[in-house]
């Protein structure tokens, strides 16, 4: 088969539908990565326009441009859009587009999940923007502190849009994080062991793990606050046993890791682009990986530094102040490793390099002001002033926007197959750089003069007039620069000359293909033996196009790839991907219906939407079943691999592990909330304690013990060739009994609207019941698969996945029952 014929055959297999209809049914990471990035930049423009409105408002004293009601919506939406609808999705889009190419494989682990995540993001983001257009956008500041955001002080639907819309969008973050984690760990080219992974993959892995553990506390907070607003469960009301500080803890438990979730991907871009710009390799690869891991770890220990002024005990302040300064050390390691890389190589001032230099200047200043506010006495003065606003823009614009611009200019030839023709980019960079520093250096100064953040007007006597005008002028220079970058990119896409392959002489695998990237990504998969495959084999692209790697022969219209052992990169299984389908967009539309009916309080639609999600999910997994035992699959080079349906740990098992990691964090945050309210909140003990019942507790715990044991037995019997159906049904019943005990807890929770104790028990019981239903549904699904002949001693991959969920349900369910009944017994 000639390379061109292979290209045609593979394209036919992998391509999405032609025209715009293809957008709705594509599950290909090439399309979805582009769609993510494009949508994220639309939101970036919206967020940027909001920023311009803020600067217009503050340009002159006593501004009559917008009243506080509108202005409060503007700055709330600016922060919300930039954080949730631009920064995180940009990382997701970039990782979705790049990772399979960097890792030498054909797609991500769960293509339909990628599409589902994208549509959740697009729909959720649209909800927020529509709210803004109608003038009912959230207006409580992007961190939504209750009681300001509670029903009493924020009546109306504005805050609900934030809580529900952002939770909807976060589904996409969690989906992408599961996707990225499993892809990096399992979907790589043969031979690519962990230490041979491109550095960006490490950063993406660390970031994805951080999303899995950082976002759940915020999701929990949003759920609790929405429950309080909609149903009067008083989690954050001090007079009813709640505490508004709980929100601050949950929010910043997410909010601080969030900063590093935004910075780390950008650092990954720098670590990838900088060495290429300097014609050398990265200095201290292992050190940089360790620094990223250390940063991720430490970033979870310093959320309290956002709460230095809330009256935290002094010892706590000292601890978190120390942690906040400590986090600068791994950042320092990365910065100096990059500068060392520049000394080692021969830096060339291409456009991506200019933006990297912009990063260095801006981010180092942001880091240094960050160290200043980590010093508690300084923070007591600077907190909630424009100084903080300026600091965070130095960190985020320096640490994210400049590197992303560098990445855009670096990978633009990959997206388009063209090379830069007009020289608008250099001028645009100069405007962005100078505009940014004028705007935000001035803002530091205004903050030190006492200007609070979030004020909509000030008086001439305050003495901030000139400094604000300078800042506003700077912001318009910045905006013009960004508009020019946009024009530059558009000109590039539509007019530039065709480029040769690998224009930067980079050494990573994404350049070993024709550009723009074909739908199938690699015609055949490479065998990787070093960290810089293209440096060793510059002709790799041709070799792969000729089908000389793995899986070079297109078969039966199947989308094939292979998965590897996580550590060594040894090929482990043969994987078939699903083809184009509208299932993800339909499923996210139904998910959206669920959120929308909560938002608009059409509660009768909620169960319908939930049932719809369940039916679609059932359809989703059903299509994975095989009727017959698959043979060993030939993947080329005389290698035969087992099908993923016949292994102990299938991709779905890995996906479940990481989804449950996020879920477990959510549960841990919920338990933390319970303990926090109990020990810290005023208004405890509650007037009525839960009446414990030994019978309910014993029944529920018995169900929780039996279910996983029965699943284990089902796995053993199935492997031995015996009928597993009965054991699966026992497991299902065990989970159901656990669910009933949790439902009883919900029904008997004492006065949930009168004290946070009762509301917490209600939510705990609801969590247990929800998972028991999921476990029972999964058991039912497995039973059906067994009865219809979709499983066998060989086709066993579904069993461990169900077992995992059953085990998780049992552990959390037992903890919930113990926590509730013991709290009643101890009182």
């Amino acid at each position: 088969m000639r390379a061109l014929e292979r290209h045609r055959k593979l394209s036919a297999i992998w391509a999405s539908e032609t025209g715009f209809r293809g957008w709705f049914s594509t599950v290909n990471h090439n399309d979805l990565g582009r769609m993510f990035l494009f949508t994220a930049f639309l939101f970036f423009i919206i967020g940027g326009l909001l920023a311009m409105l803020i600067r217009v408002q503050l340009a002159t004293p006593h501004s009559a441009f917008a009243g506080p009601e509108i202005y409060n919506q503007i700055f709330t939406m600016h922060g919300t859009v930039m954080m949730f609808l631009f920064a995180i999705p940009t990382f997701e889009g970039l990782a979705i587009y790049l990772l399979p190419k960097l890792l030498g494989t054909r797609d991500l682990a769960f293509p339909r999940l990628t599409a589902y995540g994208f549509w959740c993001y697009a729909f959720g983001g649209t909800m927020l923007i529509v709210a803004m257009v109608f003038g009912i956008a959230p207006d409580g500041g992007w961190f939504m502190y209750p009681p300001l955001s509670s029903a009493i002080h924020s009546p109306g639907i504005n805050a609900d849009f934030w809580l529900i819309g952002i939770t909807f969008v976060e589904i996409s973050a969690i989906a992408a994080a599961v996707e990225i984690t499993v892809s990096v760990l399992k979907y790589r080219a043969p031979g690519m062991s962990l230490e041979k992974m491109p550095i960006f993959a490490w950063y993406a892995l660390v970031t994805a793990l951080m999303i899995l553990t950082g976002f759940p506390p915020l999701i929990l907070g949003s759920v609790l606050l929405e429950l309080e607003r909609a149903f009067g469960l008083p989690f954050f009301q001090a007079d009813l046993g709640g505490d508004s500080l709980l929100w601050q803890h949950l929010f910043w438990l997410f909010g601080h890791p969030e900063v590093y979730i935004i910075f780390l991907p950008a650092a990954g871009v720098i670590s990838t682009v900088l060495p290429v710009m300097c014609r050398t390799t990265l200095l201290g690869y292992g050190w940089i990986v360790s620094a990223a891991l250390a940063l991720a770890f430490l970033s979870f220990g310093l959320w309290v530094h956002h709460m230095f002024t809330t009256g935290i005990p002094h010892l706590g302040l000292a601890f978190f102040s120390a942690a906040s300064t400590l986090v600068a050390v791994p950042t320092g390691v990365q910065i100096f490793a990059w500068i060392g890389t520049m000394w080692k190589g021969r830096p060339e001032l291409h456009l991506p390099m200019l933006h990297i230099l912009g990063f260095f200047v801006t981010f180092v200043i942001g880091g240094l002001t960050g160290v200043m506010v980590a010093v508690v006495p300084f923070d007591w003065q600077a907190h909630d002033t424009a100084f903080i606003t300026a600091h965070l823009h130095y960190v985020l614009f320096g640490g994210f926007v400049f590197p992303i611009f560098a990445g855009i200019y670096y990978w633009l030839p990959h997206f388009t197959g063209r090379r830069q023709f007009f020289r608008l980019g250099e001028l645009a960079f100069a405007l962005v750089f100078s505009g940014f520093h004028i705007t935000f250096l001035a803002m530091h100064w205004a903050g030190l003069l006492g200007q609070r953040r979030r004020i909509s007007a000030y008086a001439p006597e305050d003495g901030w007039t000139t400094i604000n005008l300078i800042s506003s002028v700077g912001s318009f220079i910045l905006a013009i620069g960004i508009a020019m970058i946009l024009i530059d990119v558009l000109l590039h896409v539509f007019t530039a000359r065709r480029s040769r392959r690998n224009p930067w002489n980079a050494s990573t695998l994404e350049w070993a293909m024709i550009t723009p990237a074909p739908a199938y990504t690699f015609a055949s998969l490479p065998q990787v033996s070093s960290r810089d495959p293209l440096a060793r084999e510059p002709e790799l692209a041709t070799t792969l196009a000729r089908g000389e790697g793995f899986l070079g022969t297109p078969r039966d219209g199947l989308r094939e790839t292979l998965a590897v052992d996580s550590a060594s990169g040894r090929p482990e299984m043969h994987v078939l991907y699903p083809a184009n389908t509208r299932l993800p967009i339909i499923m996210s539309a139904v998910t959206g219906l669920f959120f929308l009916s909560l938002l608009l309080k059409f509660y009768w639609i909620v169960p319908l939407a939930l049932a719809g999600v369940i039916v679609l999910a059932w359809k989703w997994v059903r299509s994975l079943g095989l009727r017959d035992d698959p043979a060993m699959q030939p993947v080329g080079h005389d290698l035969n691999l087992p099908s993923s349906a016949t292994v102990e740990r299938a991709p779905g098992w890995w996906g479940s592990v990481f989804l449950l990691t996020a879920n477990g964090t959510f549960f841990a945050a919920l338990l933390f909330g319970f303990a926090f309210l109990w020990t810290v909140a005023p208004g405890w003990p509650p007037p009525v304690w839960f009446t414990p019942s030994v019978a309910e507790l014993a029944l529920g715990v018995a169900g929780a013990v039996i279910a996983p044991l029965a699943m284990r037995r089902a796995i053993r019997r199935n492997r031995a060739g015996d009928a597993p159906l009965f054991s699966v049904l026992i497991a299902l019943s065990g989970s159901a009994v656990l669910g009933i005990a949790c439902a009883a807890l919900m029904l008997r929770a004492p006065a949930p609207t009168e004290h946070a104790y009762g509301s917490t028990l209600l939510v705990l019981g609801g969590y247990g019941l929800f998972h028991a239903i999921i476990a029972a549904l999964m058991g039912g699904f497995l039973a059906r698969q067994i009865r219809c002949g979709y499983t066998s001693a060989k086709r066993r991959a579904a069993f461990p996945i169900v077992a995992l969920w059953v085990k998780y349900t049992s552990i959390t369910g037992a903890i919930i029952l113990l926590a509730a009944h013991l709290s009643g017994m101890l009182s």
Partner: protein, 185 residues
Amino acid sequence: MLAGAAAIFGLVMILLGLSFRNRRSSGEEAGQIRVWILGLGLGFPALVLGALLAYGLVIGERLVPRQGVEAVQVSAQARRWEWRFTYADAPALETTGVLHIPAGRPVDIAITTADVIHSFWVPRLAGKLDAIPGHTNTLRLEADAPGTYQGVSAEFSGAGYDGFAFEVVVHDNSGWAAFLRGQPE
């Protein structure tokens, strides 16, 4: 702190600029890692940050209310959008928008709120401390000289936040006594 930050920033910029020289730093990767990563990346920040942290903690310790000192007790309660102040030494007295304290004596301000979160901030006298529903936070401050000081609430609280300010009037001894008797000069 500013000078130190500027010096560190200058150092990084110089190192960045020098990387564009034509002469290449020779030597093995191991040596470069020692210089860049162990020396500048790990050692240097650890040293600077350690010193800064110690400094911050010592200063912070000095600002914490200590037992055993006879402090004037006042209460500050915030609501949207006004502050009400009451005085332990004159229980009948309540002032709105103006806090009266004596000069030269430590004052403990018990900060509470009647509705949402606010923050008590008199920049020239002390740092911020939040007013959190259901909690009482105590701020210790001491004004050296009589006079009038501007204070603001520094936690976003909705539509009336812009103008949410108050004043602190610091009295000398006789003025304070007069105020407590309900006869301001």
